[in-house]
């Protein structure tokens, strides 16, 4: 198509909005770092939606655009919405007297659009919607001729914008830090893509659809090569449509389906929705999974990824940690949940100490090697590891390594929470972290693994027991009561203001809330926080400050 009128444009805009809405959540999720408004996708969709509602159908392209852009200007929400509306304002300004848009007019409109958008912003920031809209057209303007089709112009425009989009993290460091591309720019491209799809006859229903997953980063296939050893299997996901045709098995029971799948792999998740079954499994033998599933029906979607590539990417991430830091923290924890928690806190290296928490000095030394930092702080988080940590410091002959003798993850938690990463004063940060572990009482609760008797305490295997700073202080049949008794035994309990509760593996959230409630009934002035710690052995670890 070489020329479009207002009716074409209206359909294209509707399709652009529908396509953006389809991806709205995805765009919102990109919106993690310094942008003045939280929900870019929503804001852009609201802005464009308002324009479309406001616009009057008109064969005259310029007239349609004028009313569309007026509606967008009125309904603009947030930064991206305003910039979007200004882009369309520029487009409308350029084309207001143009009844039918050809290649030359479109080019002029796209140029005027981005220029108007730039003017609207007091301090234009590169790496945003502005950059993609500018480079998108500037890079192709000389290639547009009288004979170019609208489709080809938009295709080139999108291709150039996508290129620029992939560079946005280089232009704007906040994006790079967050590991995302610019959300507004992405949203803008989606709108134009939706418009182009319309020209190709792909009309998108403007209905709510489940949000697709965030686009995966491109995988570097060279990470798995002829010398690699295959050990991690494939992450396999599919939606199976069960069929009533008698060729397929008709009796379907979710539990036995899951039990069968267990023969082929792990990390299994199965969601049944009527005759559709969504499956996630990690397997070394996808062919077997496919053959098994195909007895029940056929695949609606199918996705398979070599997890080794993902795994290797993870290794790369660790390698990246070598960037220079003023202060780096190494912590030892047990359990995946706890590992993630300490990583979220900003720990540079989290060593999984295993259930018995016996990290060696060598592991610490390896960790030192991985870091490029002026100061290193170690949080052993267990009395059994403090020595190994000190030894590692001695062996390494490096200066500026401080072992903060945290005897529990609760103490480690308070040490991390007290850090002031904003400060350039490393000794101050270390002293803040050290003050974090002072006056922390730790209560740990579990089930006795054997009969036990010491001083006045005795228990049988299977009894609920609670320890206060490493000593068993209460025994009983009710875990909550043992915890309450242990807390009551804290000498300066009346001085405590805060209680942090880490739930272990297998302890569900409801029980955490129950415990919080019974504790806050007993200590109404205390602040409580319940965190999924995911530690093994101890069902509960509780820190009181």
């Amino acid at each position: 198509m070489r020329r479009i009128n207002g009716i074409h444009l209206e359909k294209m805009m509707n399709n652009g909005l529908a396509y953006l809405q389809q991806h709205e959540e995805e765009v919102n999720r990109l919106n993690v770092f310094p942008v003045p408004d939280g929900d870019t996708g929503t804001n852009m969709a609201l802005t464009l939606g308002n324009g479309i509602r406001y616009a009057k159908s008109d064969e005259h392209a310029g007239a349609y655009l004028r009313s569309l852009s007026d509606g967008m200007l009125l309904g603009a929400r947030g930064n991206s919405g305003v910039i979007l509306s200004q882009f369309y304002r520029g487009l409308a300004d350029e084309l207001v007297r143009t009844p039918i848009i050809g290649p030359g007019e479109l080019r002029a409109g796209l140029i005027r659009g981005y220029r108007t958008a730039y003017e609207a912003v007091v301090h234009p920031v590169e790496g945003t919607i502005l950059s993609v809209a500018r480079e998108g057209i500037e890079h192709i303007r000389t290639q547009i001729t009288r004979n170019s089709s609208i489709e080809s112009i938009l295709s080139m425009y999108i291709a150039e914008m996508r290129k620029t989009l992939s560079y946005t993290p280089e232009m704007l460091s906040v994006l790079k830090e967050a590991g995302v591309v610019d959300s507004g720019a992405y949203g803008f491209i989606l709108i134009i893509e939706g418009m182009l799809k319309c020209l190709y006859g792909e009309v998108i229903d403007p209905v709510e659809v489940p949000a697709p997953k965030t686009q995966q980063p491109l995988v570097d296939l060279s990470l798995f090569n002829e010398t690699s050893e295959f050990s991690d299997g494939y992450c396999t996901e599919f939606i199976l449509q069960r069929l009533t045709n008698s060729r397929y098995k008709q009796e379907f029971d979710k539990q036995s389906f899951i039990s069968e799948l267990r023969f082929f792999g792990n990390s299994i998740a199965v969601v049944v929705n009527g005759m559709r079954v969504k499956v996630h499994i990690h397997t070394l033998y996808p062919a077997k999974v496919i053959a098994f599933a195909q007895q029940y029906g056929e695949f609606l979607t199918f996705k398979m990824e070599n997890m080794q590539v993902q795994h290797n990417e993870h290794d790369l991430e660790i390698a990246k940690k070598k960037e220079h830091k003023a202060l780096a923290v190494i912590a030892v924890v047990n359990g995946e949940g706890m590992k993630k928690l300490f990583e979220d806190f900003g720990c540079d290296i989290v060593i999984d100490g295993g259930t018995t928490m016996n990290t060696s000095s060598a592991e610490f030394l390896e960790a030192f090697e991985e870091l490029d930092a002026d100061e290193i702080v170690i949080l052993p988080n267990n009395p059994n590891i403090i020595l190994a940590a000190h030894q590692a410091v001695e062996l390494s002959k490096r200066r500026h390594i401080t072992v903060i003798e945290s005897g529990s993850v609760a103490q480690g938690y308070f040490a991390m929470a007290m850090d002031v990463p904003d400060s350039d004063d490393a000794p101050f940060r270390v002293s803040q972290m050290m003050s974090g572990i002072e006056n922390i009482a730790t209560v740990s609760q579990t089930v006795a693994s054997r009969d036990y008797s010491y001083h006045q305490i005795s228990c049988r295997k299977g009894d609920e027991i609670a320890l206060l700073d490493g000593e068993i202080v209460s025994v009983g049949s009710d875990y909550a009561k043992t915890i309450l008794d242990a807390i009551a035994a804290i000498e300066d309990i009346d001085e405590k203001e805060t209680c942090v509760i880490f739930r272990g593996t297998g302890v569900d959230e409801d029980r955490g809330e129950e415990l919080c409630e019974s504790l806050s009934a007993r200590y109404p002035l205390m602040d409580f926080e319940c965190i999924n710690g995911g530690q093994e052995i101890y069902h509960w670890i509780i820190g009181l400050a």
Partner: protein, 311 residues
Amino acid sequence: MNDFILMADAGCDLSAEFKKKYDIKIIDGHLVLPGKGDVPSFMEWKDVTREDFYADLKKNQSDFATAPPNTAEYEKAFTAYVKDGKPIICITISSAMSGSLDFATTARKNILNQYPDAKIRLVDSMRYGPGFGLMVVHAAMLRSEGKSFEEVCDYLEQNKNRFHQAGWLDDLSFVAKKGRLTHPKAFFGTLAGIKPIGEFDSGGMTTVLGKAKGAKAAYAVLLKYIEATIENPEDQVIFIAQSCRYPQAEVYKKMIEDKFHPKAVYINDVYPFCGINVGPGLMAAYYVGKPISDDLSTERALIEQFISEGK
């Protein structure tokens, strides 16, 4: 001649009492609330209590959003007074936290095309919430004293970095996620019981200068900090902001009254327009004092000293 309009966007969190007393015009922003969609911002708890609002926000953070007034809304607000030939001083929430100033700037430009003689001055408060509100109140007090349009503008530009924040934000997850804190990445995670103490920085955001373990320790540090930075406290009206920390704010108010004997101390709410971005954990005093250093080095040294003294 001081017959001019004082305007502020919804980020100033001024109570109805102050808006009325000082005749301050507010331009509403937008809120996206779960189940209600896009609604205008509000500055009183009518349909929902403070506690319920923040409890909901904490639970479903991602369902809430805010957007500043857009260009068309600014244009409308300005035109209403420009038509009558009234000069306008419009103070906006920190440009580091919101696009409000950008939109006001575009609107001003458009108005000037239409009304070349219009007199509109935009001031970036570099503050948010009741800290911004206190600045607006100061401007209004100067106007009541008979200061001219130019004098009030000059005062704001020359003194905005003397508006201090002494308080804590004990749930940093909101500001960190919304990018409204300097170095946000370092602050993910929960901080039960820890009171991060923040001051306004020269970029118009908040920088955490230190942390105190527990409220008692935090109050002690904060009172020392106010003492070291405030000027003529007995002549001042001090604001205390709290998003959902009213009991702590009351304790703080009493301490400030006892120690500094200011003219008055008001506890102000942080309403949804700021609250959605700040979260429930803000409890801070706002006052006028010594100019804040550009790199916060002076203020950081004070906080570090006071935290160490408390140990």
